[in-house]
Symmetry: D2
Subunit: 386 residues, 4 copies
C-alpha cells in the first residue's frame, strides 16, 4: 500500500461522535436564541445526527445526555438509532441543573445531596447497560465561588469517595471518562480543574477510569497537545470533547478558532498511538448562532482535515531533523503537512466511500433542513434545560 493509500485507509476508519445536545438550542447566560426546526425529542436529535453521518461517513455514534435524553425504553431508542444508521454512544451525566446542586453534587457538603447525585450516576450506568454504551462521561460543575466557601480538601475527599462508588458499579467493558475544566460555572475553585487532578483520581480508581480532554477547558496559553502526549504516555487518555475557543469555554466549532492547534493535537494522537477506538473522539459544542446540523457537519470535516494533515507528516524526515537538532527543518517538515490543502484528498476519500465529495453542499441540497423546519412545529424545542 502506498503511503497516500495508507492515509486514505486511516481516514476511512475515523469515527467522531456527535452529541445529542448540540442539535438542540444553546446559548450564553444572556440569551438562548431559538432556531426553526430544532428537535423536540431524543428521537429527532438522533434523526439529525443520522444526517451528519449520512453526509460525512465518519459520525457513526451519538452521545446521550441524561436526563435531557431520558426515555422509557432505551432498547427501543437504540433500535431507533440503528434504524437510522447510527448507534448510541457515551452516556453523559448531569449533576448541575437542579436547585439542590447549588453548592455542588458529589462534592456537596451535605451528604443527602451527594447521595442524590450518586443515585443519578448509578442510573446512568443502568442506562449504559440498556444501551450497550461503553463510556460514562463525568463532568462535574462542582466548585466554589468564594474563598472560604467550602473546604477544598474535604471536597476532594468527597469526590474520591463518590467516584469510587461509581467505579465499583461499572460492568465489564464499561469505562468512566473523567472530564476536567479550568473554571465555570464555579468561579473561585473547581473540584476537577486540570488534567493532573483528573489523572490522580483515575490512577487510584483503576484501568476503567480514564481522563477526557475537552479542548476548551484550559487556562489561556495551555499547550494542550502536551497534555495529550502525556496522558497517552501514561495510558490514561480516554477521549476528547472537541470544540474551540478564543477566550474561555466558548464551545465554538472545533478547528474554528485555531486550526493549527487542532492539527498539533491530532499529530500527537497519531504519534502516541491514540488513533484507535480506545480513544473516544467526541464533539461537545454549542451552536448558539449558526445553523446546527451544518455546523456539526463542518466540525466533523474540520476534524477530518486536521487528521489528514497530521497523517501526512513525513515522520521519517521529522525524526531525522529532530535528532539532528535542526530546529528550522523539523518545524518545516511539520508545517509542510499543515500547509497542504487536504480538501481534494478528503473529497476522494468520501467518493471512495460512496459519499458526495461535498458534505455541506450535499446536505444543503438534500432538503432535510426545509423538511424539519416545516415538520417540527409546536412542542418544546430541546435545549440545555430539557
Amino acid at each position: 500500500m502506498t503511503e497516500l493509500a495508507a492515509v486514505k485507509a486511516a481516514l476511512k476508519t475515523q469515527a467522531v461522535e456527535t452529541p445529542s445536545w448540540a442539535y438542540g438550542n444553546s446559548g450564553t447566560r444572556f440569551k438562548v436564541f431559538t432556531q426553526a426546526g430544532v428537535p423536540r425529542t431524543p428521537q429527532e436529535k438522533l434523526a439529525d445526527a443520522a444526517q451528519v453521518h449520512a453526509f460525512t461517513g465518519v459520525a457513526p455514534t451519538v452521545a446521550l445526555h441524561i436526563p435531557w435524553d431520558k426515555v422509557d425504553d432505551y432498547g427501543a431508542l437504540a433500535k431507533y438509532a440503528e434504524d437510522h444508521g447510527v448507534k448510541l454512544g457515551a452516556i453523559n451525566s448531569n449533576t448541575f441543573q437542579d436547585d439542590d446542586y447549588k453548592l455542588g453534587s458529589i462534592c456537596h457538603p451535605d451528604a443527602a445531596v451527594r447521595r442524590k447525585a450518586l443515585d443519578h450516576l448509578m442510573e446512568c450506568v443502568d442506562i449504559m447497560d440498556a444501551t450497550g454504551s461503553r463510556d460514562l462521561k463525568l463532568w462535574f460543575a462542582d466548585g466554589t465561588n468564594y474563598p472560604g466557601q467550602d473546604d477544598l480538601r474535604g471536597r476532594q475527599d468527597r469526590l474520591a469517595e463518590g467516584l469510587a462508588e461509581v467505579y465499583e458499579r461499572l460492568g465489564d467493558g464499561q469505562r468512566m471518562l473523567l472530564e476536567y475544566k479550568f473554571f465555570e460555572p464555579a468561579f473561585y475553585s473547581t473540584d476537577v480543574p486540570d488534567w493532573g487532578t483528573a489523572y490522580a483520581h483515575c490512577l487510584k480508581l483503576g484501568d476503567k477510569a480514564q481522563v477526557v480532554v475537552d479542548t476548551g477547558h484550559h487556562a489561556p496559553g495551555t499547550n494542550i497537545e502536551f497534555i495529550v502526549t502525556t496522558l497517552l504516555r501514561e495510558g490514561k487518555l480516554g477521549g476528547f470533547d472537541f470544540n474551540s475557543r478564543f477566550y474561555a469555554d466558548d464551545d465554538l466549532m472545533v478547528g474554528a478558532a485555531d486550526p493549527f492547534q487542532l492539527f498539533r493535537i491530532m499529530y500527537e494522537v497519531i504519534r502516541g498511538g491514540g488513533f484507535t477506538s480506545d480513544i473516544a473522539f467526541m464533539l461537545d459544542q454549542c451552536h448558539n448562532i449558526e445553523a446546527k446540523i451544518p455546523a456539526i457537519i463542518r466540525s466533523v470535516m474540520n476534524v477530518q482535515e486536521a487528521t489528514a494533515k497530521a497523517l501526512l507528516v513525513d515522520r521519517d524526515a521529522l525524526g531525522a531533523a529532530q535528532r539532528d537538532g535542526d530546529v528550522l527543518e523539523a518545524n518545516a517538515v511539520l508545517m509542510d503537512a499543515y500547509n497542504t490543502d487536504v480538501r481534494p484528498l478528503l473529497a476522494e476519500v468520501r467518493q471512495e466511500l460512496g459519499l458526495d465529495a461535498d458534505p455541506m453542499g450535499a446536505y444543503r441540497r438534500s432538503g432535510w433542513q426545509e423538511r424539519i423546519v416545516a415538520e417540527r412545529v409546536g412542542g418544546t424545542q430541546a435545549g440545555w434545560g430539557a
Copy 2:
C-alpha cells in the same frame, strides 16, 4: 480638621449605586438557581435596595434596567423609591435579549434590527426624562463568534452611527456611559472590547459621552488602575461597574477576588480627583449562590473599606519616596495604608451617621429577610429574563 476627620468626612460623602437586577435571580448558562424571597416587581427590588441603604448609609440610588424594570408610570416609581429612602439612578439598556439580536443590535448587518435597537435606546432616554436620571449606561453584546462572520470595520461604522443618534437625543445634564467588555457573549470579536475603543468613540461624540469601567471586563493581567488613571487624565471616566473576578466576567462581589486591586483602583480614583459625584460608582454583580441583600451590603462595605484605605495613604510620604526613586519605601507607604484594619474606623463613621456599626448583623437582626421570604410567595421572581 485633622487628617482622620477629613478621611471620615470623605467616607460620609460616598455613594454607591446598587443595581435593581442584583436583587433578582441570576446564574450561568448552566443553571439559574432560585432563592426564596426574591423580588417579583421593580417596586420590590427598590424596597430591597432601600434596606441596603438603610444599613450602610452610602447606597442612596438604584440603577434600573429596561425592559426588566419597565413600569407604566416612572414618576410613580421614582416617588415609590423616594418614599422608601432611595432615588432612581442610571438607566441601563438591553439590546441582547430578543431573538432579533442574534447577530447584534446597533452593529447588526440588517438596518431593521439596528432601527429596533435604536428605538429602544431612545425609549431609555425618554425614561430618563421621566425619572430624572442623569446617566444612560450602554453595554452592547454585539460582536461575532466566527472569523469572517461579519465585517469588523463595517460594524464600527454602524456603531458610530448609532451612538451619534443617541447622543443627539440626550438632554441637558444627561450623559451616555459607554461600557466596554473583553468578550462574552460574543466569542470571536466584540464591537467595544476595550477602553481604547470606547474612548475613541466617546471622544468623537463629545463631552456627554463618557467611558464606564466594569472591573470584570478585561483581559487576564490587565492593570485596571492604569486605565482609571488614564481615563481620568483624559477627562473621559464616567463611572464604574464594580464586581470582581478570578477568571472571566465572573461578576462576584466586588473586592472578593482581589481586595488589593480594588484598593489600588480607589487610590487612583482619589489621586486623579475622581472621588466626586461626576463619577458614577455602581455595582454590577450576580449573586448566583449567595443571599442577595447581604451580598450587596457586603459589597458596599468592601468598596468602603478599599476607599478608607486609599484615603489613608500618606501622599506626602509617598510623593517624597517616589521622587527619591526609593522603590521599597514608596511601596511600603502604599502597603502601610492597605494593611491597616479600617473596620473600626468605618464602624465609627457609621455610628456618627446614626447607623449600626455592623450592617451585616443589623440586617440579619432586622427580620427583613424572614419577612420577604414569608410574603413574596407566588408570582414570577425577577431575573435576567424578566
Copy 3:
C-alpha cells in the same frame, strides 16, 4: 487583469523590513546562546539582510537600532546598504540599556534622566536626517515593578511632555511610530501598555505620530486584527512589528505560533486599505535557538503566505454572506482562502521576479552560511548589548 494576476501583482509590491538586531545574538534572561557566523558590525548585518532580500525579493529595507548600529558616517552606511541591494529603514531608539534607566527613561522621576533619554531620541532624528529614514520607532521600557513605586499619572504627564519635544523635532516626511507593550521589562505598570494609550498620545501629537502594532505585545486572548481594523479606521496605524508568541512576548518567527491569526491580521490590513507603503511592515524577532538568516527568510515567506491567502479571499462572496447573516457561509468563504495552499502561487511569483522558487533551498545552496561561519572569526558578535 484577471483576479489571480491582480493577486500576483500585489504580492510583487510587498515589502517587509528586516531588523538589523535579528541577525545578531539574542536570548532570554537565562542565557544568550551564541551562533557561528553572527555579524560583528552593522555592515555585516546589512550584508546578511541583503541575502534575505536577494532570495525573497520582498525585504528591501533594514531597520537600525541606535546605539547598537552606531557608526561614524551614516551616509557611508546607507551607501554600503545600497551597494548590497538594500536600503536603510526605520531608526529604533534605545532608552533601556543604561544603568540610568533603572526606573525609566522619558517617564523617569528625575528630570536629568529624562533629559538624557530625550537627547538620545533627538540624536536618533539626527541620524534619520543622515540616513533618509522616514520612521522613528519608539518603544519605551518605562514602567514600574511595584504598586506605589511611582505616580502613574505623573509618568503619563512626563511621557506626553517628552513625546511632544521629539515630535517638534521631526522634519517633513518624518514620522514617529509609538509602540505599546502589555508588560516586560516592567512588571506592575507599563507606561504605554496598550493601543489605547498609544493612540491617545498620538492623537494629541498630530499626523506625524502613528501607532505601531507589535503582534507579541498583547494580553492573552486579545483580538489583534480588531485593533488593526480600528487603527486603520482612525487613520492611526503606522506599522507592524511582526513576530509570534504562545505565551508572553516570545518573539518567535512570525506565523509560527498561530498562522491563522496572521492571516486574519493581513486580511484586515487589506480590507482596511492598509496594504500600502504608508504602513511599515517590519519584523521584530529573536532567533535564540534557530539559524538566523534562514529564520528571517522563513519569516518573510510566512508573511507572504498569509498575505497571499488574504488577497485570495472572495470579498464579494464574503460581503454577500455577511449581509445575509449567513454565519457559516461567511466563515466558509474566509476559511476557503485560508485553507488554500498558496505555496505554488508564491513560487510562480518568485520565478516571475527572476528568483528561485524556493528561497530556503536557494539560500542553503548559496554557500553564504558556510562563508560567514568561516570568515567571521574573532571580534565581538552583535547582540542586544552591542
Copy 4:
C-alpha cells in the same frame, strides 16, 4: 495555652529559606542593572543572608546554586555560614547556562548533552553530601520553541530516564524537589510545564521525589492554593519557591502582587498539615530594581504576615459555616482573619524573640548597607551568570 499564644508559638517556629542568588544582580533580557555593595563571593552572599536572619529571626538557611556558588571546600563554606548564624539549605542545579544546553539538558536529543547534564546533577548530590543539605531542587529550562522542533513524547522518556538516575544516587535523608514551570525560557513546549507532570514523574520515582511549587510558574488565573491542597493530600508537596507576579514569571517580592493569594496559600498549607519542616519554604526572587537585602527582609515579613493571618482563621466557625452551606458567613470568617492587621502581633513575636520589632528600620539603622557599599569595591559582582 491560649489561642493567641499558640499562634505566636507557631510563628516562632517559622523558617523561610533565602536564596543566595537573590543577593546578587539579576534582570530581564533587556538589562541587568547593577547595585553598589552586591556580593562578589558565596561567602559575601552568606554574610548578607545572615543579616536577613539576624533581623527577622525566621530565615535560618540559605539555598545554594551550583555552579554560581561553587567553592573548593563546602565543609568550610558550611562552617562559614554557621559562624555567621545561618546554615546551608537546598542545592539548586543549573542545566541552562551552557551553550550545549541550547536545545535542552536531560531531555536533549543528543545523548552526550544529556550525560553532561546528568553529571552535573550527580555533582550536586556530591555537594549535598558535603554540605549536609537535604534537598536537591531541580528546575529544567528544557523545552522547545517551535512545533515539530523535537518529539514531545521522546523528551518525556528522556526526562524519566534522567530523573531515575539521579533518584538512585540520593542518599538516606536526601530528597529531590522537582519544579514545574508554565513557560520560559522555552516558548512552545516545556518539559515539566505543570504540577501534573511533576507529580506523575515523582509518583513513579518514589517517596524521595517531591513536587515544588514556584508561585510564579502558572498559567494566568490558576488557583494555586488548590494545587497546594491537592499535593498535600497526595503527600507529594516538597516545598515552595515563593515570589509574586502580575503577568508571567515576574519574580517580584512574595506577597507584593497579590497578598490575598499568599494568605490563601498559607491557609491551605496550615489546613493541610503542611506547616512543618517537611515542607521547604524558600524564596526565589529577582530584585532587579530594588535594594536587595531590604527586599528580602520585606519578603520574609510578607510571608510572616500571611502566615499569621492564616493561623488566625477561626477554623471552628469556618467549618460550621461551610457545613451549613452559608456562603457569605464562611467567606466572612476567612476575610475576618485576612483583614486583621497582624503587624502588632508580629512585632510582639519579634520582641519575645529578642529582636527589634521593626526589621526594616533595624536593618537600615545597622549600618550594614553602608559598610558593604564601602567595602565591596572591585571584583565581579555575583549574578545569574556567575
